[in-house]
């Protein structure tokens, strides 16, 4: 999978490395700011109320 992505990135190794880092940063940002806030309410490791 990563090999395939690497082969399809444009330019020489330096450009590809830069493009790969940008892709990782974008994926990380989407997870942190969009996906994780949506997932977080489903995680109940920090329930602090009592109820019947």
């Amino acid at each position: 999978m990563y090999g395939w992505i690497w082969r399809h990135l444009p330019g020489g190794p330096p450009t590809r490395l830069l493009a790969a880092l940008v892709l990782v940063a974008v994926a990380g940002a989407v997870l942190w700011y969009v996906v994780f806030p949506l997932l977080e309410p489903a995680v109940t490791l920090d329930e602090v109320t009592v109820r019947k």
Partner: protein
């Protein structure tokens, strides 16, 4: 030979996906522990400013505090001189994200009955992360608009999540009429788990009216 290379490619993809999934999960844990705190800190700034503006304004306290608004400032010297959280009215998820929440209907600061505060232990700045370190006699200071109320810790307990009797005006004894002003701090236990609840009880020791 051709078959073998296809199997290897498939296995490699599986491996890469698994490693990626693992990294994403670690990243999610980092988000839970630290990412959620950013939200709480922003909200705390707003709530603490709200409290500072209304400090000394006793009329602001009359009537019910609206859900999501700041009720009082909580200080616990044992957990550090800078330990300071604005208490929010309400204990729904949206309120607890902002800081320790006051059970609506439980006693107001300084009043006879049981002032119940719930707070996160691991996520959202984890205001109650270290309340297990509180010992008998430690101060829990509740700075309300009209006065400063100082409670002293009397005991600690671990209960099941359905033990709602601890919310009673006399904690654990729902049929008894209260004669003392109590405070109950509530968080999850053990840390990183929601299996049980950790409770710290305190009783009001002194009241210091705010100068007008």
């Amino acid at each position: 030979m051709h078959n073998l290379s296809r199997v290897r490619a498939l296995l490699r993809t599986c491996g890469e996906l698994s490693i990626t999934a693992g990294l994403v999960m670690m990243f999610f844990c980092a988000y839970l522990l630290w990412g959620t705190s950013a939200y709480t800190q922003r909200q705390q700034q707003l709530l603490q400013r709200q409290l500072a503006e209304e400090q000394g304004d006793a009329t602001a306290h009359l009537g019910r505090i609206r859900l999501g608004n700041a009720l009082a400032l909580l200080r616990i010297p044992r957990l550090g001189d800078d330990y300071k959280y604005a208490v929010v009215e309400g204990v729904d998820a949206e309120h607890l994200k902002k800081g320790p929440g006051h059970y609506p209907g439980s006693a107001l600061p300084g009043k006879i009955g049981n002032l119940v505060l719930s707070g996160h232990r691991t996520t959202y700045a984890a205001p109650f992360n270290r309340i297990d370190e509180l010992r008998r006699g430690d101060e829990i200071i509740v700075d309300a608009r009209e006065a400063r109320y100082t409670y002293r810790v009397i005991s600690q307990d671990v209960v099941e999540p359905d033990e709602v009797d601890i919310l009673a005006p006399v904690p654990g004894k729902p049929d008894i009429t209260p004669i003392r002003a109590m405070i109950t701090l509530l968080t999850c236990h053990p840390e990183y788990s929601a299996a049980q609840r950790l409770i710290v009880y305190g009783v009001l020791k002194s009241t210091e009216q705010r100068k007008a």
